[in-house]
């Protein structure tokens, strides 16, 4: 249940980030282009598949810091693979258009980092509220020298 909630959150963040990135991308490279509703559904479908990437972070045994870094790297590669596959399948990009491909690479990186920061800030808030309660309820106790 918690995993599903997290995926829905991720879907919302990616959808927002992708929509804004798309708006920026088209403003730079095709300002006079008229877009159809199909584009919005394509972005939604791509965001959904990207959100499934959260499963990379599921675990039975708590992974170490090194394992988490590897998983994050794999997750980033997965996101790029989905975005670029979608871009070429839906004809957002044509192969060989280097400036557009590089800008898309940059936009994916920026959205990824922003989502990471937002998630981290949310977790920081939770940690702060837990710490406040800990200090209130359980000041340091003396114990045996065991």
């Amino acid at each position: 249940m918690d995993t599903i909630k997290k995926m829905i959150n991720t879907f919302a963040y990616i959808m927002t980030g992708s929509s804004l990135s798309c708006a920026l991308f088209l403003t730079i490279f095709a300002p006079k282009l008229e877009v159809s509703i199909t584009l919005l559904w394509q972005i939604a479908a791509m965001s959904f598949v990207c959100a499934l990437g959260n499963l990379i972070f599921s675990y039975k045994k708590v992974p170490s810091k090194k394992q988490m870094i590897i998983r994050t790297f794999c997750h980033y590669i997965y996101i790029n693979a989905i975005v670029y596959s979608n871009a070429f399948l839906c004809k957002w990009l044509a192969p060989g258009l280097m400036p557009e491909i590089l800008v898309m690479l940059l936009l994916v990186a920026v959205v990824y980092v922003i989502i990471m920061i937002v998630n981290f800030r949310n977790e920081e808030k939770i940690a702060n509220s837990l710490n406040r309660q800990l200090r209130k309820q359980y000041p340091k106790q003396e114990d045996d020298e065991l």
């Binding site: 918690d2 997290k6 972070f57 039975k60 045994k61 708590v62 988490m68 998983r71 994050t72 998630n119 981290f120 977790e123 920081e124 939770i126 940690a127 509220s129 837990l130 710490n131 309660q133 800990l134 309820q137 359980y138 340091k140 106790q141 114990d143 045996d144 020298e145 065991l146």
Partner: protein
């Protein structure tokens, strides 16, 4: 709150009776402290057995079908299983922090985020223990959030 101590009749078992209008957070804390002090846990180290007060246990960890308990400075092995500890010490200061760790909430100095929904608890003895995302709601409940 009044504390009344009565002498038990010969042969009568020692009892602690709590009489209250409702079981609030304060009452739960008192009950938890009493439960923690009641049963000691046998821990073995280098062939020696030590009876340990659960209130002094920082955390229990299950590794390779064995369960170890970590106090401030020492580590002992216990014959208890994690699920038994979780059951016996339900409604105390011990809570499941991950699949292999049961943590004593009173030994947590601070909590910080550790990426991807996990949290890292810094204990008073300097050790760090990871709290899995799925068990954070249980910790919040334990702290009354």
């Amino acid at each position: 709150m009044k504390i009344i101590i009565e002498e038990a009749s010969p042969g009568e078992e020692d009892q602690i009776i709590i009489r209250c209008r409702e079981i609030d957070d304060q009452m739960l804390k008192i009950i938890s402290e009493l439960k923690m002090g009641q049963k000691k846990i046998a821990g073995s180290k280098n062939g020696n057995i030590t009876m340990i007060d659960p209130a002094n246990v920082y955390y229990f960890e299950g590794v390779d079908n064995k369960v170890f308990l970590y106090c401030k400075q020492n580590m002992y092995e216990t014959k208890l299983k994690l699920y038994e500890i979780e059951e016996d010490y339900k409604n105390t200061n011990l809570f499941r922090a991950s699949k292999s760790i049961i943590l004593n909430v009173t030994k947590i100095k601070s909590i910080s985020p550790a990426y991807s929904g996990r949290f890292e608890a810094l204990l008073f003895n300097g050790e760090k223990v990871v709290i899995s995302r799925q068990y954070v709601p249980e910790l919040k409940k334990k702290l009354g959030l």
